[in-house]
């Protein structure tokens, strides 16, 4: 087998050194009747060529975004162009096949990148400190709610109706099992929702999304003030991080914790993962943060270097009193994110954001002209919601049959039989002007 370097002779020599006749003697602690006497009922070893052949056939059965006649699916994961440099660099052995940097003297590469990553996240979000990444945006949101509970010593989280439905489900699940309370607002598309009146002296946090699930962009400054008056925290969730190249930072609105999905930069779509969760907060809360933190220090020669720090918050030290049970994070995707952002720089990120916005404006304007289609947003970045006559699900399926991937029916995520006529459509730099016009024409063709 090509992955196993030991030869039969090696094995014999090594067993002799160990002093046993057969390898099963090393499994002597396994109860005798539990040691398998035959192989699991699975295929036997296969050559590289054979594996590649089988899995390529499986891959070919999927309609990829690149092969489609137009791709407008978003709702928490966005198709952007990743420079070739990014994928090359993250496949360097020293990044790809290293472990968590527990031995800093031989992990300065990873640690240096994490320090830069944390700085980039602070600048993007307008916050003081950021951690070295979480699994993804949804789990980071749940961690933010738990952190708000620790900070405030209160149990209740209020979730905006504009928060991604699956993020809501993840928070709901975590709150239920960890003994928290929850208030969930009903989605009010492109309308202001009255979160402020929900805040009371039991409220740990209010969670809003920016731009929200339906694409709407709201100023949360007043909400932040109202939350702070009641000593509650404001958590702002960003699922499309590219938007922060165009719109004010959540930090500037008074957010106490900002969490985000970083997938848009450096990660592919990958059918939902691995992505990278971003987590930033205020300086005063650093000891309540979950996840790994990288800090700058010096070595015995006085040279600048980096280490993982404040680990007394973490599970391997604090065990059941840790701030989170998280251990592995999303290191490689954080690296991809950071490299992509380094290539872009502030100038490039602003340009990228503006192209996204311009393309979305073009599509919204073209759809707005179609009889029977209502664009519901009065503001948006690169994603917005339309109302169509009848079922958005049926429309999407009909277009998919023509290899056009038109968006996400809201009902797929809400799953409660409501909002069936709503479709969330995302537009990025990947969509040409022609594709945009074609999508509008195709939708018009289906509904008329």
């Amino acid at each position: 087998m090509r992955y196993l370097p030991l030869s039969p002779d090696d094995r014999r020599a090594m067993l002799a050194k160990v002093g046993v006749d057969h390898v099963d003697a090393l499994f002597a602690d396994v109860p005798n009747d539990k040691l398998l006497d035959k192989l699991p009922d699975l295929p036997l070893a296969a050559s590289e060529l054979e594996v590649e052949r089988q899995l390529s056939q499986m891959a070919a059965r999927n309609l990829s975004a690149g092969q489609s006649k137009g791709f407008f699916v978003g709702a928490g994961a966005y198709r952007h162009h990743t420079p070739a440099t990014v994928d090359h660099l993250i496949q360097r052995s020293e990044f790809l096949t290293s472990y968590t940097p527990y031995q800093p003297e031989i992990s300065q590469g990873t640690l240096h990148v994490l320090f830069e990553f944390q700085t980039q996240i602070c600048m993007l979000t307008g916050m003081d400190v950021a951690n070295a990444s979480m699994y993804d945006g949804s789990t980071a949101t749940a961690e933010a709610v738990l952190m708000a509970r620790r900070v405030t010593r209160r149990k209740k989280a209020i979730l905006s109706g504009g928060l991604h439905p699956q993020y809501r489900a993840v928070v709901e699940n975590m709150q239920r099992f960890s003994g928290g309370d929850l208030v969930q607002m009903t989605p009010a598309i492109a309308e202001a929702e009255d979160l402020i009146s929900q805040i009371d002296d039991q409220t740990a946090c209010v969670v809003v999304q920016y731009p929200d699930f339906f694409g709407q962009i709201s100023d949360y400054s007043e909400l932040a003030e109202a939350a702070h008056v009641k000593k509650a925290l404001l958590i702002i969730v960003v699922t499309e991080i590219v938007s922060l190249g165009a719109i004010k930072s959540p930090g500037s609105m008074g957010a106490d914790i900002v969490v985000a999905e970083g997938q848009s930069l450096g990660c592919g779509l990958d059918f939902g993962g691995p992505y990278v969760g971003l987590f930033a907060t205020r300086q005063k809360y650093i000891r309540q943060m979950p996840g790994r933190l990288c800090g700058k220090t010096v070595d015995v020669d006085g040279q600048q270097g980096f280490v993982l720090t404040l680990s007394t918050r973490e599970q391997h030290i604090r065990r059941e009193k840790a701030t989170s049970n998280i251990c592995t994070n999303s290191g490689l995707m954080a690296l991809a994110f950071s490299i992509h952002l380094t290539l872009l720089g502030e100038k490039g990120l602003r340009q990228l954001a503006m192209i996204n916005h311009a393309n979305a404006v073009q599509l919204a304007d073209e759809l707005g002209k179609i009889n029977g289609v209502d664009v519901l947003n009065d503001s948006f970045f690169n994603e917005f919601t339309i109302r169509v006559p009848g079922s958005a699900h049926d429309l999407v399926e009909a277009l998919a049959a023509k290899q056009l991937l038109a968006g996400v029916p809201v009902s797929r995520l809400h799953g409660d039989g409501t909002l069936e006529d709503l479709l969330v459509i995302a537009v990025t730099e990947m969509n040409s002007a022609e594709q945009i016009t074609d999508l509008a024409a195709a939708i018009e063709g289906e509904i008329s």
Partner: protein
């Protein structure tokens, strides 16, 4: 190995004036090139990506345009390449050499995994495009599920957890949901004191109280000690098997029975499944839930700290509570159930662990790896991993101190304590830093907590005999050197790394967690 003998004579720990002689004008040392922090390197107006200009249009940003500069620095493409290549060269990796971190399973990462994960039909598909447009992706998940269930003899699976600890959380939530479903209010989880920190942290997160079970001298848990800790309030036990000292839990079947008799569940931490894949099925041992670390056992890369992937297999009793999304067979095809309203008969999903469907990109890599090995290769890999660890044990037992005595076989990892260093002035940490100078990544140190100065060595099946022999030779010389009272090279190690020992206390006392113009320091 002449390099060791030479290494001693070169006497690197020289006086400071000699060190000055060793300095270069640039601060670089040949292939070790100093690299500044990004924010001391570039500016906000440089970009390494070209974009077409945007024609003027009326924006819809609700008057919330981001106007002020926020400081992100950009580099041109060649500068970017150099920045990260230079940084990468300051990392050790499994492709560099042996990486024997116990409990972490740093095995070879085949590049076929990467190639398959990057096929357009896997990489360039969206989790929310119509399921009808991604039958191949759903089949891949189904195939992975089949392999994992067959290898463990378990009845159901939750693929979505994002890493090992997230898998633990998923398993413990399923257990709590099962208790709730039958009106049980049991509130205690038994955790041996040899467990990973994630175990008690996870149980606490779902609202359980932790009751510690003392481990035997060899880290295992006995029926007697479980009996002692057991009462009607116990909801579950969390056991790692093989345990964190690399020993198979001999009384596991009886412990499982005992746990089931009081209506509790058996959670198995599968971090060490690499030792037994193809040899033992956890389902045969009475396990109710077990997570995998696909990034350990099935070689998806660790990536400097993730991404992981932590699918959880479940027993028949816990199967109905598996979280969303889950796979169901409908005739010839398979479908992902994404919403509770859409659930099928006899299922009662406890909720949702994450948005979308989990770490799909890790599923492709893990399945690629498993198909390459096949059932026979996976079994051989487990045997080789165990053989390699025992070979180290037998070869080093005269020179270092085995935590559980000389006659105690181990599974895939072997645990030493610091008794052999007693009175030498050399600590486990010093010893590990000296290994770095010899070109090895150290083993896991100071874990598990049940032995003094723990050194947990996991070679994995990826090491050749020649590689192990070299490792053994160096370890023997180091151990002898320490015992002969030659502490100096240990205390000063590492000496040849881009940075020497770092001030961790200072880093924690006054944390600098981001670059800012104020904390700019030149090297």
């Amino acid at each position: 190995m002449s390099m060791n003998r030479q290494g001693r004579k070169t006497n690197i720990d020289q006086s400071s004036s000699d060190q000055a002689d060793a300095m270069t004008v640039s601060g670089n040392k040949a292939l070790q090139i100093e690299e500044p922090i990004l924010f001391d390197l570039g500016d906000t107006q440089t970009t390494g990506v070209d974009f077409a200009d945007v024609a003027p249009f009326e924006s819809r940003l609700n008057g919330l345009e981001r106007i002020d500069e926020f400081g992100l620095v950009g580099l041109s493409e060649p500068e970017t390449m150099r920045h990260y290549v230079r940084l990468s060269q300051k990392n050790y990796s499994i492709d560099t050499g042996i990486y024997p971190l116990g409990s972490c399973t740093m095995k070879h990462n085949p590049r076929l995994n990467e190639k398959i994960a990057r096929l357009q039909g896997f990489m360039d598909i969206h989790p929310l495009q119509p399921q009808s447009s991604v039958p191949g992706a759903i089949d891949l998940m189904d195939e992975l599920a089949h392999w994992l269930m067959e290898l463990t003899g378990m009845k159901a699976i939750a693929l979505s957890p994002k890493a090992g600890a997230h898998g633990e959380l998923c398993g413990m939530m399923a257990i709590k949901a099962a208790h709730e479903a039958r009106g049980s209010t049991k509130n205690i989880v038994l955790v041996p004191d040899s467990a990973h920190g994630t175990n008690p942290a996870t149980a606490a997160l779902v609202g359980y109280k932790i009751r510690s079970v003392p481990a035997q001298e060899d880290g295992t848990v006995t029926v007697a000690s479980v009996k002692e800790a057991l009462d009607d309030d116990v909801a579950a036990i969390m056991l790692t098997n093989p345990n964190t000292g690399g020993v198979f839990e001999r009384e596991i079947v009886e412990i499982a029975k005992l746990i089931h008799e009081v209506g509790a569940y058996f959670y198995c931490d599968g971090a060490n499944f690499t030792a037994i894949a193809g040899k033992v099925k956890p389902g045969d041992l009475g396990v109710d839930a077990m997570h995998f670390n696909l990034h350990k056992t099935f070689s998806t890369p660790h990536g400097g700290g993730g991404p992981g992937s932590g699918p959880v297999v479940l027993s028949k009793r816990l199967a109905p509570f598996a979280p969303l999304p889950f796979l169901v067979k409908e005739g010839e095809s398979t479908r992902l159930v994404e919403n509770a309203n859409d659930r099928v008969d006899e299922t009662s999903p406890f909720g949702r662990m994450t948005a979308f469907h989990g770490q799909f990109g890790m599923y492709t890599r893990a399945l690629t790896y498993m198909m390459s090995h096949g059932a026979d290769g996976l079994k051989q890999a487990s045997e080789d991993a165990v053989l390699n660890a025992n070979y180290l044990r037998a070869s080093l037992s005269d020179y270092m101190s085995l935590a559980f005595g000389e006659d105690h076989i181990c599974m895939h990892e072997v645990l030493f304590d610091d008794a052999f260093l007693k009175g030498t002035g050399v600590t486990t940490r010093d010893f590990s830093k000296a290994m770095i100078d010899e070109g090895f990544h150290p083993m896991t140190v100071y874990f598990p907590l049940i032995v003094n100065g723990a050194m947990l060595v996991e070679p994995t099946e990826s090491e050749s005999k020649a590689s192990l022999d070299q490792f053994i030779e160096v370890m023997i010389v180091l151990a002898k050197r320490a015992k002969q009272g030659d502490a100096e090279p240990f205390l000063n190690a590492p000496r040849f790394t881009p940075r020497r020992r770092l001030d961790e206390t200072g880093a924690a006392r006054k944390p600098i967690l981001r670059w800012s113009p104020n904390n700019k320091t030149s090297t």
